[in-house]
Symmetry: C2
């Protein structure tokens, strides 16, 4: 354990707590959506991205970028959603080599039904346990982390559409 | 999308960024450890917990609690680590119905070899991108989230051994 400076006491206090959040919170979000709506958090995330685009449609390659997923993983997820009638795939009108994914009316209805329970979970476990100052701090902290792991790309473009607390990023 | 108050603009700014961190950061930690040390981040987490106990040994049930894992998931992970000689299982000396897991000397040596690269990754993507104030803020924010999702138990006991920035939790 030599050669690289280990974390000091305050840094370790933050890291052990944050790594517990990384380990626990995704399971909480996932469990609620699976139980109440029969989809995983990643399924929901994919549909939420589609729901915010014009025509609720994106090229599969763009959708993979926007969800930071490989095309292979995304294809499996979309196939499952397609079998349930929540998403449909079709060739690009101008270029048939391109595959588009579109949120169906059933998918949109499902999201509207799922949203209140999901928002309640996000509020209960993240937003409402923080002070308004901490909510802004979390945005700035997340921006700083994302700047290092997420070079400007589709996912960055996605979340940067939402104004930060001070509009200047980190 | 009615009935539950949706997030306001500042809350949404924080949430979309934070959910991107939840989606991206575990993959970064996992990739570095897999590439450089041949273990997943969860493998490393399990071994790190063992390394900090007396005799580097815990009952499997306690280890499951401390890593917030089901016994079934943990058994698979420990079996894999055992096949590589990094962990060994043995019956409790006083109660043979109990199974203990112990970090082996090879496991300890492997952690010492893996630690510098792992710490460098944690520093590069989390600690060093934040100001000292943000490091303390992250500890307090994580504490607030964990208070709601992690009722006092082994995992809580684990991270609470590390003093928070003000010693009073959230």
């Amino acid at each position: 354990m030599t050669g690289t400076p280990w974390l000091d006491r305050r840094q370790m206090a933050a890291w052990v707590r944050f790594v517990a959040v990384l380990e626990l919170l995704p399971g909480v979000l996932d469990s609620q959506l699976r139980r109440d709506s029969g989809v995983t958090h990643f399924d929901y995330f994919v549909m939420a991205v589609l729901s915010e685009t014009p025509g609720r449609t994106l090229r599969m390659a763009e959708l993979a970028g926007a969800t930071n997923s490989t095309l292979s993983r995304l294809s499996h997820v979309v196939q499952r959603l397609e079998e349930r009638g929540l998403v449909e795939r079709f060739p690009g009108p101008g270029d048939r080599r391109v595959t588009n994914a579109r949120l169906t009316e059933d998918g949109w209805a499902m999201m509207q039904a799922a949203a209140p329970g999901h928002v309640a979970t996000v509020r209960r476990h993240v937003i409402d346990v923080l002070t308004p100052e901490q909510v802004d701090q979390l945005a700035a902290i997340s921006d700083a982390m994302l700047a290092g792991i997420d070079p400007p790309g589709p996912m960055a473009a996605g979340y940067r559409r939402y104004d930060g607390p001070d509009g200047s990023g980190e």
